[in-house]
């Protein structure tokens, strides 16, 4: 039977004992762990009760467990502590036990056994023992407080780390020239910030996985997600689904469930990757646009070299032309080329389409045209050959409408061929117009020797010829009304008869611009005007 003894701690302590207690408290407080504290308590008690055996026990649940040297191989029966004060009990065989409740609700028990044939423990010994246990309790409270403080600091630092890493990762994944793909970096960061054991990113299209990357590298760890479950998030971009999954949140005490913060972090990192991919896409698009603009600038430069800077002077005639492309590179062409036999070839052409492909086709057209003119081919043969080579040089949707006129200046003789082009207006001196449109199909429309017809006429004094592309009659204003609808070109040609060809061109362009106003020009505008003095 245990005999319980209540001890009055208010009794006066022997001289020098206070100092011993202070020293003991310092010793106990300096211990970094409970085990170390227990070892130190055993040493302190061993020093205070020399020759006695000190055994320490701890109870965290129902059972007592040894914390060090025991009297024998068994754990003795120890009472539970009542309240916060130490409970001292006398045990059988001259032993004494003391039990103290600790700050973490566990209990520590000390069993002292007199060594040799020592006297039984006096009441003052029991008071001292109780004081030592109270000191131990206080030292343990300090230890717990220090541990809690460290855990709090660690936790706060970790939160700062998470926020900082979130910002850094956002910056890194948004770097367009980063060495690692942004989604791989984000997976790494998400795993480390949430203490996940592993993670995976799957990119799938139409339910089929196109890319799979594990963290750590090396494929799915055995039993990933089976111990502590996982969290996931996903987004869609460019027809693909990016899905991030994290598995098995680690802690020092084993695998624990992921919490809301982990999900928030994963979602945030996933959103950063999404934004980064969108930015990368827009950046690439801008680069492509820039490259196209550079190509267009080069093509425009070539185009400008093809179009005539000035037109040749023709004795007894005045000639002027204009080309206003709707984009940087146009699909219109005009020229007046002097031929070795004294004749002049007036040409106007319009490629279906605009931009670089149209400019390239114009360039081919110009090269073939000049070659065939030098070969002095009859105009209809020239058209047949041009039709064939343009058909072979262009795609199916590309063709050229053109009008050719060979002028013999001395006689005013004019031979014309239209390859599906707008009718050319010949203005007689009385103001009446004749439309010249005989010829054949547009060039390049059919890859065959399609026959062309020509018509011949003689220009009289004061007669005028206007060659133009459809950019003039089809010019539109802000309400998409056609210039031709309100101001028929024929009427303009009939009514305007300035002395100089250049004046006519200026007036025509001014009239068109007056009609269209600030509306964007949607087609190239090209015209060639000849008048015979």
């Amino acid at each position: 039977m245990n005999e319980r003894t209540d001890v009055d701690t208010r009794k006066r302590l022997p001289d020098g004992q206070i100092e011993a207690l202070e020293k003991a408290f310092r010793t106990l407080s300096a211990a970094p762990t409970l085990m170390d504290q227990a070892t130190r308590l055993r040493d302190v008690l061993g020093g205070y009760f020399p020759g006695d055996t000190v055994s320490l026990y701890r109870r965290t649940g129902m059972e007592w467990e040894s914390l060090g040297v025991r009297v024998d191989g068994t754990v003795p029966h120890l009472p539970s502590a009542d309240g916060d004060a130490a409970t001292v009990s006398a045990l059988e065989g001259g032993k004494v036990s003391i039990v103290q409740k600790l700050a973490d609700r566990s209990q520590i028990g000390v069993v002292l056994v007199r060594g040799g044939r020592g006297t039984p423990y006096a009441e003052t010994d029991l008071v001292t023992l109780r004081l030592f246990l109270t000191l131990f309790d206080n030292a343990f409270r300090e230890l717990v407080a220090r541990r809690n403080e460290k855990e709090l600091i660690f936790s706060l630092n970790h939160r700062v780390l998470q926020l900082n890493s979130l910002i850094d990762t956002g910056i890194e994944v948004s770097k367009l020239s980063g060495s690692a793909p942004p989604h791989h970096l984000a997976l790494e960061r998400a795993a480390s910030l949430t203490n996940a054991s592993s993670g995976v990113l799957r990119v799938s299209r139409g339910g089929r996985t196109e890319e799979e990357g594990w963290f750590p590298h090396g494929g799915a760890p055995e039993g990933a997600g089976s111990r502590g479950g996982g969290i996931s998030t996903a987004f869609d971009f460019g027809g693909e689904t990016y899905k991030f999954q994290l598995f098995d949140k680690e802690s020092r005490s084993g695998i624990i469930p992921f919490d809301e913060t982990d999900q928030l972090l994963l979602d945030a990192l996933s959103r950063q990757v999404h934004a980064s991919l969108e930015n990368l896409y827009l950046h690439q698009e801008a680069l492509e646009k820039q490259k196209i603009e550079q190509d267009i600038a080069v093509a425009a430069s070539i185009q400008q070299r093809i179009l005539p800077k000035t037109l040749p002077g023709i004795d007894g005639y005045d000639i002027a032309g204009v080309n206003i492309p709707s984009k940087s590179v146009g699909g219109d062409y005009y020229d007046c080329i002097p031929l070795p036999d004294g004749r002049f070839a007036m040409v106007i052409a319009d490629v279906a389409g605009k931009g670089v492909p149209a400019a390239l086709l114009v360039s081919s057209f110009h090269a073939y045209l000049t070659a065939y003119l030098e070969a002095a081919l009859p105009l209809v043969d020239l058209a047949v050959r041009l039709n064939r080579v343009i058909a072979r040089a262009s795609t199916e949707d590309k063709f050229i409408t053109a009008f050719f006129a060979l002028l013999t200046p001395s006689s005013g003789a004019l031979e014309t061929v239209s390859a599906g082009h707008n009718p050319v207006f010949l203005r007689h001196t009385d103001g009446t117009l004749r439309e010249l449109s005989l010829g054949g199909i547009p060039l390049g429309m059919l890859d065959m020797d399609f026959p062309y017809q020509s018509e011949s006429l003689t220009l009289g004094k004061g007669e005028r010829l206007l060659l133009y592309t459809d950019g003039i009659p089809e010019a539109t204003d802000g309400r998409q009304r056609l210039y031709e609808a309100d101001f028929p070109l024929k009427e303009f040609v009939s009514r305007h008869v300035p002395v100089r060809a250049e004046t006519f061109i200026h007036e025509l362009i001014a009239d068109v611009k007056k009609f269209t106003g600030p509306a964007p020009q949607n087609d190239d505008i090209t015209a060639l005007y000849l008048l015979k003095h």
Binding site: P32, F154, H158, L161, N164, E188, A191, S192, P216, E250
Partner: protein, 122 residues
């Protein structure tokens, strides 16, 4: 992408040099702590941890590193990290590890720092 964890160690002039590779997580931290403890019990008090091949460290892994630092502090020893990836260096800095542990560019620099500090190996 980061590799699974592994480590190697060597003792030079009674200084323990642990070189890690891969994710320093619970598994990695335990392995480092076990390797440290084995040598600590034999009296080694100056430790170099080369994290050059570890670009990712989680907080569980860091808690093991902090314990090592604390044990060395109590025993008058010192830990120096080397070959740190900038991201890892920032992590350890935010977590306050460099208040009590050193960092050097290379293992050679770390060993030299022990000499300069006038702390020859025990």
């Amino acid at each position: 992408m980061e590799q699974p964890f592994s480590l190697t160690s060597e003792v030079r002039e009674n200084r323990l040099i642990i070189t890690t590779s891969g994710y320093v997580n619970n598994v990695g931290g335990e392995a480092i702590a076990a390797e440290f403890a084995r040598h600590f019990e034999q009296g080694t008090r100056h430790i170099v941890i080369n994290l050059g091949q570890s670009r990712v460290v989680n907080s569980v892994g860091m808690s093991f590193l902090i314990e090592i630092i604390e044990r060395l502090q109590d025993a008058g020893g010192k830990l120096v990290f080397t070959d740190l990836d900038p991201a890892v260096e920032k992590m350890l800095s935010i977590m306050g590890l460099f208040q009590y542990a050193g960092k050097e560019k290379t293992v050679g620099d770390a060993l030299l720092s022990f000499h300069e500090a006038g702390k020859p190996g025990p």
